[in-house]
């Protein structure tokens, strides 16, 4: 039996074409991009080609791209780097941001900043009226993710950015889940800062980038030799950057057919689960969601149990249950949407990628109802509710 990987929102395998592009930069072209000799120049040119690929993928200018170690560092550089040396004021984020943004904003609070967390509705969509109402004269940043990592809801970032810009507020978006899934243009979105990561789009782990609009002043978190225009010191990760550039370029080239292939699988999975298993509800927006995201809450049973049972039959998925997390807290995304902790404990996320097949979806639908029935037979909740 072949293993089935439905956890692409967690990470993706490196595409062989991406790996092939990277490999020379580990060995025969392993120069330091900051040196002026032939090895250094070769590495530098590769780095700048990668930067141009990333910029092109976002509709940005090359000088607006800073390579980082990944999405978390990009979010921190955006949120903390923008504001850390400013007089404390006010920041607006949504209630469903990735922990990288939530925790970075929490750090600002310790520096004296005030943070407003704008609520979302039951579909996981940020409330634009509440966002507009949250803006204050001393608001310096709005951070709203482009698509949610748990329930897949695509956020009205363009509308939010327009509201923020009326007040001269800088706008950041965490696009880690959205890159490669929906077309992105920083000018069309109207954002000033945008985070992305390679390993969510068939690139390597340990590399990401932050788009910083010209004129927006961000101060570094990591100090040293002044690489990346002094915004991110440390010897450049040339092989990683080449991988990110190749992954972005590839993701955009295959985006239309990937989106249609993956969303067809998603819709089949969703319909199959809802029709075969009673007492299940779809979480997130019915249509404005990532093409590869299925997120359901299965009543009366707990997510980690489902994840482990599916793992036993070779299917990899994830859950927003407290028990499946290191923090032991139920997914704040799901509770912020107005569901109770029990719904979060019973949540299951299937995130599809371009290599998934209809046969894999059918295989899942074959085994899943029996797993649910088995766990429900063991549950003390089903009988009493």
């Amino acid at each position: 039996m072949n293993a089935i990987y439905f956890d692409h929102a967690a990470t993706t395998p490196v595409d062989p074409r991406v790996l092939e592009a990277m490999l020379p930069y580990f060995s025969e072209r392993a120069g330091n991009a900051s040196e002026i000799h032939a090895w250094g120049r070769e590495a530098h040119e590769a780095l700048e080609r990668a930067r141009a690929q990333v910029a092109a993928g976002l509709g940005a200018h090359e000088r607006e791209i800073v390579f980082t170690s990944g999405g978390t560092e990009s979010d921190n550089l955006a949120v903390v780097g923008l504001l850390q040396l400013e007089q404390p004021g006010h920041v607006v984020i949504s209630a469903i941001e990735h922990p990288a943004v939530t925790a970075a904003a929490g750090f600002l609070e310790r520096l004296g900043w005030e943070v407003s967390r704008v609520p979302v509705d039951r579909t996981g969509t940020v409330d634009l009226e509440a966002l507009a109402a949250a803006l204050r004269p001393d608001t310096r940043l709005v951070s709203l993710m482009l698509a949610n990592n748990v329930v897949g809801t695509v956020q009205p970032v363009r509308e939010a950015a327009a509201l923020a810009r009326e007040h001269g507020v800088v706008v950041h978006t965490d696009a880690v889940q959205a890159v490669g899934a929906v077309p992105i243009d920083v000018d069309e979105l109207g954002v000033d800062l945008l985070s992305l990561s390679a390993h969510k789009i068939y690139g390597p782990k340990g590399i990401g980038a932050l788009y910083v609009r010209r004129g927006v002043k961000v101060r570094p978190l990591i100090h040293g030799g002044g690489q990346e225009r002094a915004l991110r010191s440390g010897t450049e990760n040339v092989a990683g950057a080449v991988g990110l550039g190749a992954a972005v370029e590839l993701a955009l080239r295959v985006l239309p057919e990937t989106a249609s292939h993956v969303s067809a699988l998603r819709d089949r999975l969703t319909a199959g689960i809802l029709s075969a298993v009673p007492d299940v509800e779809l979480l997130g927006h019915p249509t404005r969601r990532l093409p590869g995201n299925v997120c359901v809450s299965v009543h009366f049973i707990e997510g980690e149990s489902m994840v482990l049972r599916l793992d036993r039959v070779g299917i990899a998925v994830s859950s927003g249950s407290a028990c499946a997390s290191q923090s032991l807290e139920p997914s704040q995304v799901i509770t912020s949407m107005g569901y109770d902790a029990v719904a979060a404990h019973g949540s299951l996320r299937l995130s599809l990628g371009r290599e998934n097949t209809t046969a894999e979806v059918e295989r899942f639908l074959e085994v899943f109802p029996a797993i649910v029935a088995d766990l429900r037979a063991m549950s003390p909740l089903s009988a009493t509710r």
Partner: protein, 157 residues
């Protein structure tokens, strides 16, 4: 993150179900906290002659429940009362640190079931009107509050 023995008890749990007309019932945890264990026992000649459980919860909740029933089936009440959550975890070859406090509740459920049995026995011998004992979970001693804010999430910040 789980040992093979934990996965074995999770995948093929022993003594799942509910005893009809049990002599004692113990229920612990809350759905909000992510773990609920309900354990029923049958007692004869001072020994636990049968024990069954139902569990809502993670792998550790199921595996500890399964192991706890194995440990006490056939045991005297005193032996069963000596079984602690730590005993159960040790019998499973250990649990991940973050699971020790949140999902390792089976021995507590067992103790509640024994207390329930003892209370019923005392009521039956002393008060003939105590006919509704054990009629529902609501009347059982519950080891943890249903309040979400009170979920015991010790050990991680």
């Amino acid at each position: 993150m789980y040992s093979d023995l934990v996965m074995d008890h999770f995948s093929a749990p022993r003594n799942v179900g509910e005893i009809e007309e049990p002599d004692g019932v113990g229920r612990i945890g809350s759905p909000e906290c992510g773990d609920v264990i309900r354990l029923t026992i049958k007692v004869g000649d001072g020994r636990i002659t049968d024990v069954k459980f139902k569990a809502f919860g993670c792998g550790a909740a199921v595996a500890t429940s399964s192991m706890a029933t194995e440990l006490v089936k056939g045991a005297t009440l005193d032996e069963a009362l000596a079984v602690t959550n730590q005993t159960v975890a040790d019998a499973l070859g250990g649990l991940p640190a973050q699971k020790m406090h949140c999902s390792n509740l089976a021995a507590d459920a067992l103790h509640l079931a024994i207390e329930d049995y003892l209370a019923r026995r005392d009521d039956a011998s002393g008060d003939e009107t105590a006919c509704d004992v054990g009629s529902g979970d609501d009347e059982l001693p519950v080891g943890r509050p249903a309040d979400e804010a009170a979920c015991d999430r010790t050990g991680e910040s």
